[in-house]
Structure formats: structure tokens, C-alpha cells
Amino acid sequence: MMDLIGVWVAAFLTLAILSFLFGDNPVYKFVEHIFVGASAAFGIIVMLNQAVWPFIQEGITTQDMFLKITTYIAIFMGILTLFRLEIMNYIAPTLTWISRFPIAFVTGVGTGIGIVTGIHGYIFPQVVATFLPIMENNTSIIEIASNLVLIVGVLSSLYYFYFSMEQRGALRWIVKTGMIIIMITFGSAFGYTIMARVSLLIGRIYFLISDWLHLVR
């Protein structure tokens, strides 16, 4: 019974959103606002239930004194972020700077990880994979061509984004090659984007005709 009501509610909401195709209308607008409200609350519940509470619960009940103390510090830092709340502008506007500490902490950890990760996890392996042997003992002609396209493509498209130098003479040809590669890249990205959006529509229409209208099994 609850499922039946649910399917009808879901179908109504789906159609309400789709009604936007015929222009902005009050039904769409109302449903959109409900969506924003519900998803914000949903996010809070999940964050508390899945992340904050398990860590805090474990950190407070543990026998490990070190973990216990550090958890209290982390919670304290978390509370400090609340000084950034908009409400604080009315209560204690001069204390907003306190919230900079937890933010500085998170940013420091994030950028620290980011630097080593970017170099070690992306740049090194990607550069290594670019300088591949063009020809080995039994490489087919297509593979040789592909390897060449890949090497030339990476270098020229990287150069294409290098704006600090005037691009004249032979350099112009590198830039042109880079542009061709970039255009093919954008073209395939565009094709895949269309593919993605259509797939999502298929999912929604499948819901309407199968779960709701039972036109198909």
C-alpha cells in the first residue's frame, strides 16, 4: 500500500519537474523548492548518522586515551566552525575569525595531500605512459600511428594551453595540431555528454511507463 502511494507521489513529482518544458510554472517552482529543502535536511541526517556520530561515539567510548583526547580536540575544532554561521553575525560578529582555525586545518591537510597526490598519482604515471615505445618487434602499423598520435597529441595540446609565449612560425603548427586534438577531445566529450543525459531520461521514462503505468513488465 505504501509503495503504491509512493509510486503515485513519485510520478506526480516527476511530471511536475517535466512540466518545466512548457515554461516556468508555479507547480515546478514549488516542487523545486521542496527538493532543495528536503535534500538539505537529508544531507544533515546522513552526515550526522554516517560520519560524525560513529567517529565521536568511538572516540569517546574508547579506552585509548590518546584517541579520546584527540577526538575531543577534533569536536572542539568542529564547534569552532560554527562561528562562521550567518546567525553569528547577529550574536558575535567580531568572533568570526575563530572559525578560520578549523578551516585552515582542513585546507592545510587537503592541499598537502593534493600536492603529493597530484605529482605522484597523476603527473608521474601520465607522463610515463605518454613516452611509450613507438615501435617494438611486432607492432602493427595502426598501433605505430596511434602511438605517434598520442605522443604528438599530448605534447601539442599541452603546448596549446601555454599562453606565455607568442606563437609564431613553426610554433604555430604545433598550436594548430594541438587545436585539432583538443577539438576532437571536446567533440567526443560532447557526444558522451549527450549520451549521459539521454540515459538519465531513459531511466525516468522507464519509471513512468513501467512502475507507474505498467505498460511494460
Binding site: A10, F42, V106, G153, S157, T185
Partner: protein, 262 residues
């Protein structure tokens, strides 16, 4: 003091995490720092919600039709929140299969979220029809790559592509020959060659066996485009991007960039 100490903290934590990368035996210290991050993230979630709600409370006070929408938003927020806490308290986990909160997810949240994005299929189709024009060499190239990928990734794509291909190649070939008359020298020569190349591609299709091979060729060509030129271009973009990110991160660590502390 109000800025220097946070910048110092950022620097210390950044250097600490970089140092930890080279000392994997201290992974516990590393995971402790990351644990703190998670807890702080949890509290930080309240920040966005706070300004969202305040913003809509203000709109309600202003009145008008917008007030009804804003009231809907706030009611939806609190209903969902209490529903979640109730299920949590009642069953112990709001995401348990027996929880009615999950019903809300399944039949309210899920259709709204996915239909919002499905809507884009209509708009992307309409926008492509209205704005996607092969007016320059670049946009023609983009269009051809997109079409090959789109047709190469669906069943029957090759068959349909043959028909499109013939029509399109003639059109583009003639167009390039026509355009070449406007240029001189190497530019004219390139355009003429490109135009003739486009026209030449349809010649083999007068033989049925070639047509058949060509129909199977399209999915293969799509694979090749994705794996070679696309991978090369994406890598070029990615390398440029990550070098930029690293430079920016260093600026943050050394306190040159302080926008995040605003």
C-alpha cells in the same frame, strides 16, 4: 594574529601531510589528521544550511508568491529532518530497510533528483539543433568527432552512419572547396585538399562489401577516437590543470593566497 596563526596552521598541516607521504610507517598519524578533517567537515555542513534557511525566512517576511515557495522549502526541510531523527531514534538507523525515512528517499528525493537531470536531455537536444553550426574548421571537426562517437556507441549506429556519412561528406567537401576560393596560398591549398579528401571518402561505398565493413568500422573508429586522440587531449588538459593546481596549492601553503580565510 587573526590571520597569521591560521596561515601558519595551514602551512604546518600541509608540510606534515607532505612529510607523511614519505614516511608511510606513520600512517596512523596521517589517518588521525584525516579523521579530524572528517569531523570538522561534519560540522561545516551546518554552514550552508544556515544561510539557506535564513535567506528563505527573509523571503517569507517579504510576502508574495515567493513566500509560499519559501515556506514549502522550510517545511520540507524540517519535515525531512524530524522524519530522519524519528527513524533514527525508533529503529536505530534511518537508512534501515524498515525505516519510513527510506520511503521518503525512494519516492520523493530520488524522483526529484533524477528528473532534474533528465530534463537536460530535452534542452541539450534543442540547443544542439539551434546552436551547433559547422561554420569553421574547428566546429566542423568537433561536430564530426561528436557524431562518430554518438553513432559508434549505439546498436545499428554504423548502418545509420553510412547514410549520414554520405550526405554529410558531400556537403562538407563542397563547402570547403567553396570556402577555399576566399583564401590564398597555403591556406587555400589546405582547404582544397581537405574538401577533396571529404569528397573522396564516399567513393568506396559504391561497393556493398565496403559498406558492410564500413558499418562495423564506425564502432571501431569511435573506440579509437576515445582511446587515442581523446586520451591525448584529455591528458594534455589534465597535466596542465594539475600543474596549475599544484602551483595554487603551494601559494596557499606559503600564505600568498589567503582567499579561503575570508
Amino acid at each position: 594574529m587573526q590571520t597569521t596563526l591560521p596561515v601558519l596552521l595551514t602551512f604546518i598541516m600541509g608540510m606534515f601531510m607532505i612529510a607523511m607521504f614519505f614516511m608511510p610507517q606513520f600512517a596512523n598519524a596521517e589517518s588521525l589528521a584525516t579523521r579530524w578533517t572528517t569531523i570538522i567537515w561534519g560540522f561545516a555542513l551546518a554552514l550552508g544550511v544556515d544561510s539557506l534557511l535564513l535567506n528563505h525566512f527573509r523571503k517569507i517576511r517579504k510576502g508574495g508568491t515567493q513566500a509560499i515557495h519559501s515556506a514549502g522549502l522550510i517545511i520540507a526541510f524540517f519535515v525531512t529532518l524530524f522524519w530522519g531523527f524519528y527513524s533514527w531514534w525508533k529503529i536505530g538507523n534511518p537508512f534501515d530497510a524498515r525505516s519510513s525515512f527510506l520511503w521518503m528517499f525512494q519516492y520523493v528525493y530520488l524522483p526529484l533528483d533524477s528528473t532534474m537531470f533528465a530534463l537536460l536531455a530535452f534542452f541539450i537536444a534543442s540547443a544542439a539543433y539551434r546552436a551547433f553550426r559547422a561554420r569553421s574548421f574547428e566546429s566542423t571537426l568537433l561536430l564530426i568527432a561528436a557524431s562518430i562517437v554518438m553513432m559508434g556507441r549505439v546498436p545499428l549506429g554504423g548502418v545509420v552512419f553510412v547514410a549520414f556519412f554520405v550526405a554529410f561528406m558531400i556537403l562538407v567537401g563542397v563547402y570547403f572547396l567553396y570556402e577555399s576560393s576566399k583564401y590564398v596560398g597555403i591556406d587555400r591549398f589546405i582547404r582544397m585538399i581537405v574538401g577533396l579528401a571529404f569528397l573522396g571518402t564516399i567513393l568506396p561505398l559504391f561497393y556493398p562489401e565496403y559498406t558492410k565493413a564500413f558499418a562495423n568500422f564506425i564502432p571501431g573508429l569511435a573506440d579509437w577516437i576515445m582511446q587515442v586522440p581523446n586520451a591525448a587531449g584529455q591528458r594534455g588538459i589534465g597535466l596542465g590543470l594539475s600543474l596549475g593546481v599544484i602551483a595554487f596549492s603551494l601559494r596557499i601553503l606559503f600564505g600568498i593566497e589567503r582567499g579561503y580565510l575570508r
